[in-house]
Amino acid sequence: MTTTLLPTPDAATTASSPSTLVDVRHLEKRYGPTAVVQDVSFHVVEGEIFGLLGTNGAGKTTTVEILQGLRRATRGSVDVLGFDPARSGDRLRRLIGAQLQEAALPDRLRVGEALRLFASLHPAPRPLSDLADEWSLGDLWRRPFGALSGGERQRLFVALALIGRPRIVFLDELTQNLDPVGRRRTWEVVRQIRATGTTVVLVTHDVEEAERLCDRIVVLHRGRVVADGTPASIVDSLGGATTVTFTDPSIELRSIRHLPGVRQVRRRGGQVEVVGSGPVLAHVGARLVALDRPPLDLQARRPTLEDRFVALTEEAS
């Protein structure tokens, strides 16, 4: 067994904070005259669940495959764990975990054989019994890959991605073959993966999945970044429209109109509607309590990430 200390990263990388695991700058991928990824820049910080969100054909999978060294970029710089994936792909891929959108194993390869084979690639693999328990693979141990259902295959692939105790794992359309129960269970496991210290890069077209799981998101559309931030900040960038409502037929509207973040106050019958941005719900609630008029039906309606996602992709189109 040999141990090699790899060289320090290039200049572009050293500008990032020490906990930056992935640094992508001005990435471009062309096939002939067609650009499928254009001027994409982002970084992934250790310990987060980072989402690449976009419609089909947005360039998500191409981007993440470049990060893993499975494709070569046409232009731009990519640094993953201190490696240039284009030059040190094999070494890098032993340190990361990957669940690919389109991949398979030989039909007659049994689940146990697959786990043992992939475990042999790593110096300190996770105990196979732990993985089998975690991903409910124990009962499938002798079953050939070709006889597994879509969900069972997905569980096996995630187990294979985690087998080498990776610092970062790339999960591409993780829940696409799962039923709603399996989907929610998988979300929980993704959170558990992060809780054990593994950084997660989640590639998805599922807005709800991105909103529920990701700490930060990059939205790709037609190969370009159209939004970048936390799910909440991306929603806020829609233009603020948080609407707070409560029932109070006699309250004076001017007592609310000057609260921070409030843009508009109007009465609809006995109900008051306050339109604003930022933590407007908290300000309105605090004011009503201070006025000793706490309502029973105070609620806020915020635009969802899906609203913002649709707006972004329509704007970009």
Binding site: L5, G82, E102, P106, P123, G164
Partner: protein, 258 residues
């Protein structure tokens, strides 16, 4: 970003483990075994049965059964290189197995090494079956030049594993590999020493036969085993083809990586 240390797990060991897994998978595919061993075995038994085991001038004065069994060592290697290996590799590519291997850090070198190991094992097993049949059923004579037989066996193995790798590197599906493999193998088998003896071929057939790598591998094996042969046996030709095939496969792999 901090530098990261990488611990190797041993390329050779990984390749052997992968070859072991691949061998088990091949054995679970009965049609592969039948195609690679069953067809040459059945054919050589028929031919030896038809032409017999008495010395014959059309066979350079040797027993036709010896002529065929010695030559079929090469035929088995050709079946492996032209059909078994390309179908195996192309099917892996088609369904995404190679992609899955690559994403897990299994380098192309490890996959190639495992395919070579697999080729050596299944090629040797198939040759052993053919020779066992020859000894048991037709009292196959001992080789005149055992080292020469070994040398030509290694040359044939290298040539056809390399050709198989080159075909596998470029073909995108198992069906395409099977179709092309059979298209290449059947005429090569018939004109390259597996079919009629050279003495009964037309001059056009002889010209084509001279260009086939199998002809030279079979000719070399027969010459080393029997001490005589009518077939040409220029070692440089299969070796050159092996080298060209390796370069072609490497170029294709580099292009795919881009």
């Amino acid at each position: 970003m901090t530098a990261v240390s990488v611990s190797g797990t041993g390329t050779g060991r990984t390749a052997l483990r992968l070859a072991g897994v691949e061998l088990r998978l091949l054995l679970r595919e009965p049609m592969v075994t039948i195609g690679m061993i069953g067809f040459p075995a059945a054919t050589v038994l028929v031919l030896a049965g038809v032409f017999g085991s008495l010395p014959d001038p059309d066979f350079g004065g040797v027993a036709p059964s010896d002529h065929y069994f010695a030559g079929y060592v090469g035929v088995v290697l050709a079946a492996m290189g032209l059909i078994t290996i390309p179908v195996h590799v192309a099917t892996h590519r088609e369904v995404g197995v190679l992609r899955r291997f690559r994403a897990s850090g299994l380098s192309a070198g490890v996959v190639v090494a495992s395919e070579i190991a697999l080729g050596v094992v299944i090629g040797s097993a198939a040759v052993a079956v053919i020779l066992l049949l020859g000894v048991v059923m037709y009292d196959l004579s001992a080789p005149v030049d055992p080292l020469g037989v070994l040398g030509w066996y290694v040359a044939g193995l290298a040539c056809f594993i390399a050709i198989g790798g080159a075909l596998g590197s470029v073909l995108r599906s198992g069906r395409a590999a099977s179709a092309l493999g059979n298209l290449l193998f059947v005429p090569m088998f018939l004109l390259g020493g597996g079919g009629p003896p050279r003495a009964v071929m037309t001059s056009a057939m002889g010209t084509i036969s001279d260009a086939l790598p199998l002809t030279h591998v079979v000719g070399g094996l027969r010459h080393a085993w029997l001490g005589t042969t009518d077939d040409p046996y220029a070692l440089w030709w299969p070796v050159l083809l092996a080298a060209v095939s390796v370069l072609f496969a490497m170029r294709t792999a580099r292009r795919r990586a881009g």
